[in-house]
Every structure is written in structure tokens, then in C-alpha cells.
Amino acid sequence: MKIGVVTFPGSLDDGDARRAARLAGAEAVQLWHADSSLHDVDAVVLPGGFSYGDYLRCGAIARFSPVMESVIDAARGGLPVLGICNGFQVLCEAHLLPGALLRNAHMHFRNRDWKLKVESTSTAWTSGYTESQEIVIPVKNGEGRYTADEKTLDMLEAEGRVVFRYLDGNPNGSQREIAGIRNEAGNVVGLMPHPEHAVEALTGPFGGGTDGLAMFTSVLSNLGAKA
């Protein structure tokens, strides 16, 4: 099973996403932003970082890269796509997911381990969790305030498309404590926290968190079941 991880010139957590895919048992494939081929991968991760510097608006420029045109097409066709942090921003900019991510309400970059509630397990990336499971995943972003209009927020909640919610506070002022959402079909998921940084006890959240690994094993077992 091959998980592709896109590298934009300013991607930073791409190596971590590949490591997470490997630890989950996949073959990790590096996808280059300027190459429109997806190289027959079975799923795609858009990793964290600052795609093209992201000085204007996070994800704004990345969405126009050659690889993204293929990702957008493939996602519409059902390919599992996970956007982490900057990847989430790119997915919103590309309108694969609704809403937008704005500068944190407190205006600081914040890196802290955060407790999340898994609210939707009917996605390609979260089926390995149990409904309402509480997990600890690092948050690290400067522009992670999830924002959408009330109608969209109501719709997301009504359709069970809020995948993760922040517990015990809100690290960035996201509306309704939303940390991650999915598309209608459930193959596309975006979240601000970083599951790829919670895959090894040694380097994960303080005290040995590996709660992020299930995102990567979920997609593999779903793909395996399909194959």
C-alpha cells in the first residue's frame, strides 16, 4: 500500500508524515509539487509547513501547484486525502473542504499537546478510533482558527462532518472548537493538530503519546478491505 506525501518547497513536516506512514506499515512515496503525477499512490497526505512561504495567506499559492490539480481530481474521485495543518489550509483554499483557517485569536504561534475528541469515525482516516475517543495530539500553528459561516457550521454538525474537536479549551479560537472536518464522502479529512508527531513514544507528546498513528493505520486497513 502506498501513501504519497506531497512536498511543496516550504513543506516542513513532510518527512514526519512519511515516517508516520512507514510506521503504520505503508510504503511512503514523496510527491513533488511541480509534478502532476500521483505515481499510483493509494492515498495522499498534504503535510504541515508553509507551502510556498505562506506569507500572503496559508495555502493560497499551493492550491495552484500542478500536483494539487491532480490531488483535487483524485479526491473528487474518492482517493483518501489527509490535510494536516498547512495541508488542511490547502484543502480549504482548494474548496475540497468548506471554511477557512485564520490567524489565531490570541495572535501567537502556539505549540502545545492538546486533548481532542474524535467525533466521526466514518472517514477513511479515522475508522480506527472509537466514537468519542479522547486522544492527545500536538497543536502547532499560527493560523489555525477554523472559521465558516453559521450555515456551514450547522451543516457540518448536522451531517456529522466534524471529525475532531478540541477539549479543555481552544488553542486558537476555532469556531465551535472545531479541530478537523471531513468532506461529504469521508475520503477527505483536514485537521490542524499534527497526528504525525504522535506516532512514537520517544518523540510524541510528553508522556509517550502515539495517539496519531491510528490515522495512518485506519487508511491502510480501509484500503486493504477494499482491495
Binding site: 518547497p9 516550504g10 516542513l12 513536516d13 518527512g15 514526519d16 515516517r19 504541515g48 509547513g49 508553509f50 510556498y52 512561504g53 505562506d54 506569507y55 490570541h106 501567537h108 504561534f109 502556539r110 505549540n111 502545545r112 500536538p138 502547532k140 499560527g142 499534527h194 504525525e196 508527531h197 512514537e200 520517544l202 518523540t203 510528553f206 508522556g207
Partner: protein, 737 residues
């Protein structure tokens, strides 16, 4: 139309006066330049000499002292590159080497805190990159003025956001640092930054522009009128112009471009396409051109009109002096130029051939057919002035040392004292700062803030890793520069050792006032001597560092502040020892001896605003043995004691995982809690007999046991962890929100 001053013109009117004094050159220095050239320098040459012979580039006041680092350095076959290179390189395994260095960006960070700090990080990362290494982490050592001074908010917020903004955007985890507040830094904050990188041993790069006919390529950002240090001095010389747009501009960092520069350089190294490489730092092209050619003992021909400019109106001397960030200079053999430019293109980085390596030791630089520089590169890079400046012990030192803190009135309420101290600016939790930094990126951070040292895994197979800690104590160094410097070394060494790593190398950043003040120069000489002696005693070499002079407001210098960085090897990071109490029921013990040492302490400062006496005694033989014990013993946790003493170490250890403790103190409880005696570590173990056996002649004092939700000092007080946490963690957020 400005006339360009050329070599031809300089030969025609060899005696025309030049504004050398405005550029910071002394009359005799100017005479020497004329002697070297056999004529007056051109405007561009004058700019280059003034930059290269400045304190910052030539180390003219510090050189005679820094020599000791080499002379006293223990022989080590680990050292692959040492002082004089962009950064020292030490071998950590058969195949891997590590390079690290700490550098200052103090003055720019006061003028424009965000950009000053950001470009400080960018600059040190390029030094590491230039050695052939992939940068893998950064650290920041910060000194601010009084916490409540109206200007401190501006500086703190700007600096912290600048360090974070640049480092986070580069994808380098921040694994530690220091934050100190003291009024002596009010008009002159210190912003030091450290970077560490890793390289395969055979990828080591150097800066020599070897190989006649090789091509000189400038890579990275366009060149603009950026610059504070060298260029601002230059600009103040006006050259009959003084127009608005010839004024120097603040350097603005572009971390995205730096990220591209890193990736493209690494790709070039791996493809074996680079003969020589040098980063462009404070002295820009001037430094890069002269150092690369001088290092090779060859000449160089450079064409300034080829340099991509942000502002087309720039003149040759401005191009040479520009401090624009995110640039590297490469030496490439002609047949590889195309391949190099293709890699640049792939990453979207500008790459431009601007010259070539030539026979003979002349650096010849032209601008649109005009030759503006023709000089021996070694005269710029290596033959700058060297001064043995006068030294004099500060007049007030004897009185200062006589005014001991041990005689100050002591508190009756130790509970209140502890709560006040752990909430004080220098001892409080620094989470408000460190949460603004990415600690996770690259996925190899094993330990970071608030642990004693940063610990990074280098290899996922073998679990080999490196630990780094930095320390500097301006108050101790003010009281006794020799001992103060050794105290900082001892502390950094111990902080590395508590993780279970073996300390192997040292870097430093020496922040002092004006070298022209004999009292400052004496402090500097003493501190260097202390550090060099200390390294000799510990058997670890200084591999590189940085000197920052002129840190003062008016005639008042900062406390002398040598920041010492120690690097250690960790053979198996999965066995690292963290600082926090892990679970209930473990035995708490203190390694080392507590003496009544309160002078220079946080207690004296916070409770009495007092600075006087002698700093704690340093015994490096003991530190060495202690480090061996820390590696050999089976420890659940280990946390070194430093500022704030045992009270602080206990507080940090219980709060790390919310595991309380009950301890019993022997002797004077106040001294036991707040003395800052060196050479001590707070540990927890499951088996105290095994600890005693492992400890040899290092004193072991059992203090109590872990557990509960309070910090209890028997017979004295108890503090619920919630109350302790509130006191310790609230301070900085409340001040700077």
C-alpha cells in the same frame, strides 16, 4: 551622476583624503591600507577594509585572548574542523559528524526586535549549512531589561516572535535556550542563537576558493541596501550624497528563501558539485569574496554588475557591503556550473555566476568595466590589526566582592519565599515563550524545553543522539569573571550530563561591553581564561564561537555575559533521563554538596535587589565525576540545580508530570532550599543502594519520596501542586500576553 571611484582614479590621485575615520578606521590602520595597496584605497576598497578590519570581522581586540582556546584545547580526534571555520565540526560516529555554533545578533534586535532576532536565527543556520550539514535544531539565548520597563514588552514580543517566526518557518525544532531579565540589558538586549547540524563525515565542506578557473556563484536572495553594522557606519560617511535612498535599511528575513537555500545546497553537496562554499553574513560579499580566496591562497575576479540587485541604483561599494540575508557564495568547477544552476532552478533559487578563481593572490573586482578593487585578499581576511588592549580590574570590584549576600537578612516564611521566587521573572516557567516555537518538526526531538538539555535523535536505527545545553550567568561573571565563566561551563556541562549524554565539545558567545574600556577588557580576558582553563580541565575543546563587544548604553556596560554551549553524545536516546518525577514511591536524592552560597543568587536579587560577594565555588573535577555517575547510575529522573537552588529544582520536578513529593531537609532549611552551590543534581531512583554504589565518592543525600499532589517540606510547609503551578506558570503570560 555619481562618479565611480576606480583603481585607475586612485592611482591618479594617490593622496586624496578618504573618510576613513567615519568608517571606524584608525589613522594608523588607514596608513597600513595605503602601504598594502601602494596608493590610497578606492571607495570600494575602503569599504571592504573598514568592514573586514572592524571588531566584528577581525576580532582585533579578542584575538590575543581567544588563542588560549586552541592552545589549551585537549587533543581530540573527534575534531574535523575547529576555530576559524564557519562552525566547528565534531565526529560523533564512524560516519556522522555534528556542527554547532552560537552567535549574537544583539544590536539589530534592539533597533527592530522581530527582524533582528529572525535574521539572527537565519544567519547562524547558514553557518551550519556552509559546513555541509543539514541544520537540525536551533536554540535561543535571550537577555532582556527589567520585566516591567515600558520598552521591554516591545523587545520581548518582537524577539520571541522573530525567533519563532524564522525558526518555525524553516522547519527547525527549537530545543532550548535561556531567558533572563536584568536592568543592565535595558538598552542593549542580548539575542544569541544557536544552530546545530548533522552531516555524513565525507560531506564536510570548506570555504576555500580552490582551483584556478573555477566559477564563483552567488546563490539566493537579491542584494539590496540592507544592513546595520558595517553598512550603517559606511552610510554615515555620506560620500557627498546623503540622499534618502542611500541610507542603510534594516535587514528583513525571508525564511522561505532560506529553506530553499538549505534544500538546494544539500542537494548540491550530495551531488558532489561544490568545491567551496561560504555563507554571506554580516559582512556580505566583502567577507565571502575575500575569505574564500584568501583561504585558498589564490586570487579572484568578480563582476559586480552581474549581482542581481533589488535596487538597480546601488553603487559598487554598496553591493560589496550589503548585508542582505539568505545568500551563499559557491565555488564550482566550470563543467558543473550548468548542473548547479539546474538545482537552483529546481528549488526556485537565484543562482548567478559572478566571477572566477584566478592565479596569483589578487582580488580584482569590477563594475561595468571599471576596476574598483584590486588588493591581496589575505590583507582583508587575515592581516587585520591585532590589539593587546589595556586591562584593568574594575575599580569597584573589591568592594562588590566584599558585600556578601550571605550576610543579608533571611526570611522567616520559607513557603512565601519559595512562591515568590518560582514566580520571579528569571525562575518562572518559560512556557509562554517556548510554546511559540515548534519543538516537534523533523520528528527527532526527544527532550526539549523545559528539560535541562535539548536531546535530538540522529539515527532511527542506532538511536544515536546529541544533547545540547547553553548557560550564561551575567551576575556571577560580574562578581568574578574567571569563576563566572567556569560556572556557566559547569552548568551547561551538567545539563548535558543529566540526560545521560557524554559532553564532548563547547561553543560560546561572549557578550561584553566596549573593549576600549580597560575594565571591560579585563572582564573579557578573565572570562576567556576561565573558560579555556575549564575546558582543559574537563577535557573538551572549544570548537568555535562568537564575540560581541560594545554591548552598553552610554558608558555603562552590560554584566559580562559569556554564553556557553556544551554538546554531548547520547549513545542511545531511548534510555535518556528526563527531569520530572515519574511516579509515586521513588526515592528522591541529592547528588553533590550544599554549601552556604547565596552571593549572586536569585534569592539575593529578587528579595533584596542585591548583587555582591563571590559566586559559588566551581570544582570541575567533581563535575566530571558527577557526569560519569549520571551516565552509569540507573536513574528515573535527574534535574540539575542551578539558579534558585533546590527549591527551584523541586518545583520544576514535581510540576513536570504533576507528581508531588515529601522531603526532609537537614541543617539550615533556608540554605538547603536557596543556596546555589554548583555540582548538584536532584535525582529519583527505585533503588537507593544501587545509587550509592554507583555514586562512588559523590555525596548522596536522601531527601524523601515522590507522590501525592503537594510539595511537602517536613517541618516547614506544604504547597498544593495547583498553587505551585499557578505561581510558577502565570508570570510571563500576564506581563506580555
Amino acid at each position: 551622476m555619481t562618479t565611480i571611484d576606480t583603481v585607475e582614479l586612485a592611482e591618479k590621485n594617490p593622496d586624496e583624503e578618504q573618510p576613513y575615520a567615519e568608517l571606524g578606521l584608525q589613522a594608523d590602520e588607514y596608513e597600513r591600507i595605503k602601504e598594502i595597496l601602494g596608493r590610497r584605497p578606492t571607495q570600494s576598497e575602503l569599504a571592504m577594509y573598514s568592514i573586514m578590519w572592524s571588531e566584528h570581522c577581525s576580532y582585533k581586540s579578542s584575538k590575543v585572548h581567544l588563542r588560549q582556546f586552541g592552545e589549551k584545547a585537549p587533543k581530540s580526534d573527534r575534531m574535523l574542523a575547529g576555530i576559524g571555520e564557519n562552525a566547528g565540526v565534531v565526529r560523533v560516529s564512524d560516519t556522522l559528524a555534528v556542527t554547532f555554533k552560537v552567535e549574537s545578533h544583539n544590536h539589530p534586535s534592539f533597533v527592530e526586535p522581530y527582524q533582528g532576532a529572525a535574521t539572527g536565527v537565519g544567519g547562524i543556520v547558514r553557518d551550519i549549512l556552509a559546513m555541509g550539514a543539514r541544520p537540525i535544531a536551533v536554540m535561543d539565548q535571550l537577555r532582556f531589561g527589567a520585566v516591567d520597563h515600558p520598552d521591554t514588552t516591545r523587545v520581548v514580543n518582537g524577539v520571541v516572535q522573530g525567533v519563532g517566526g524564522y525558526g518555525n518557518c524553516l522547519g527547525l525544532p527549537n530545543i532550548g535556550g535561556e531567558t533572563v531579565f536584568d536592568p543592565c540589558y535595558q538598552g542593549n538586549p542580548l539575542v544569541n542563537a544557536l544552530s546545530v547540524g548533522v552531516l555524513p563525515v565525507d560531506r564536510l565542506q570548506n570555504k576555500a576558493a580552490a582551483g584556478v578557473g573555477n566559477v564563483v556563484i552567488l546563490m539566493g536572495a537579491k542584494t539590496g541596501r540592507d544592513g546595520i553594522g558595517g553598512v550603517s557606519v559606511l552610510a554615515s560617511a555620506t560620500f557627498e550624497e546623503g540622499s534618502e535612498d542611500s541610507r542603510p535599511a534594516v535587514q528583513v528575513g525571508d525564511p522561505f528563501t532560506e529553506k530553499l537555500l538549505i534544500e538546494s545546497c544539500l542537494e548540491l553537496y550530495d551531488a558532489g558539485l561544490v568545491v567551496g562554499i561560504q555563507d554571506l553574513g554580516g559582512a556580505g560579499l566583502t567577507c565571502a569574496l575575500s575569505e574564500t580566496s584568501s583561504a585558498a591562497g589564490l586570487g579572484m575576479r568578480a563582476y559586480l554588475e552581474r549581482v542581481p540587485l533589488r535596487e538597480p541604483s546601488m553603487l559598487p561599494h554598496e553591493i560589496l557591503a550589503s548585508e542582505s540575508q539568505e545568500r551563499m557564495l559557491l565555488i564550482v568547477s566550470p563543467e558543473n556550473v550548468e548542473a548547479v544552476l539546474a538545482v537552483c532552478e529546481k528549488w526556485g533559487v537565484l543562482g548567478t555566476a559572478i566571477g572566477e578563481v584566478t592565479e596569483g593572490e589578487r582580488l580584482v573586482i569590477s563594475w561595468n568595466e571599471h576596476v574598483v578593487v584590486d588588493c591581496p585578499p589575505g590583507s582583508l581576511a587575515d592581516d587585520g590589526p591585532v590589539y593587546a588592549r589595556p586591562l584593568r580590574e574594575p575599580a569597584d570590584l573589591i568592594l562588590l566582592q566584599a558585600d556578601r549576600a550571605e550576610t543579608l537578612p533571611r526570611p522567616s516564611d520559607l513557603r512565601a519565599t519559595l512562591l515568590t521566587l518560582v514566580a520571579s521573572p528569571n525562575l518562572c516557567d518559560k512556557g509562554w515563550i517556548t510554546e511559540q516555537y515548534d519543538r516537534y518538526v523533523l520528528g527527532n526531538t526527544v527532550l526539549a524545553q523545559p528539560e535541562d538539555a535539548g536531546l535530538v535523535r540522529l539515527d532511527e536505527e542506532s538511536n544515536l543522539g546529541i544533547a545540547i545545553a547553553t548557560d550564561g550567568n551575567g551576575r556571577y561573571t560580574r562578581l568574578n569573571p574567571y569563576e563566572g565563566a567556569r560556572a556557566s561551563l559547569a552548568e551547561a556541562y551538567r545539563n548535558v550530563a543529566v540526560t545521560g549524554a557524554e559532553p564532548i565539545a563547547v561553543s560560546d558567545c561572549l557578550n561584553f561591553g566596549s573593549p576600549e574600556d580597560p575594565a571591560v577588557m579585563w572582564q573579557f580576558a578573565e572570562a576567556v581564561r576561565g573558560l579555556a582553563d575549564g575546558c582543559q580541565e574537563l577535557g573538551i575543546p572549544v570548537t568555535g564561537g562568537n564575540v560581541s563587544f560594545y554591548n552598553q548604553t552610554g558608558t555603562v556596560a552590560i554584566n559580562p555575559t559569556p554564553v556557553v554551549a556544551v554538546l554531548g553524545i547520547h549513545e542511545d536516546v531511548t534510555t535518556r533521563t528526563p527531569m520530572g518525577f515519574a511516579e509515586a514511591g521513588h526515592t528522591i536524592a541529592l547528588l553533590g554538596e550544599t554549601r552556604e552560597e547565596l552571593s549572586g543568587s536569585e534569592w539575593a536579587w529578587v528579595e533584596h535587589g542585591h548583587l555582591g560577594g563571590q559566586p559559588p565555588k566551581i570544582d570541575l573535577g567533581h563535575e566530571k565525576k558527577l557526569a560519569d555517575v549520571l551516565r552509569a547510575a540507573d536513574l528515573v529522573s535527574a534535574h540539575d540545580l542551578s539558579d534558585g537552588g533546590l527549591a527551584q529544582a523541586l518545583t520544576e520536578s514535581v510540576l513536570r508530570r504533576g507528581i508531588g513529593a515529601t522531603v526532609t531537609l537537614t541543617g539550615d532549611a533556608f540554605v538547603a532550599l536557596f543556596s546555589e552551590s554548583a555540582g548538584r543534581v536532584l535525582v529519583t531512583v527505585k533503588d537507593v543502594d544501587a545509587l550509592r554504589a554507583a555514586a562512588g565518592d559523590i555525596p548522596v543525600t536522601v531527601l524523601g519520596t515522590t507522590g501525592g499532589d503537594k510539595l511537602t517540606v517536613e517541618g516547614q510547609f506544604e504547597i498544593p501542586l495547583t498553587e505551585l503551578a499557578e505561581a510558577h506558570q502565570g508570570t510571563l503570560g500576564k506581563l506580555y500576553g
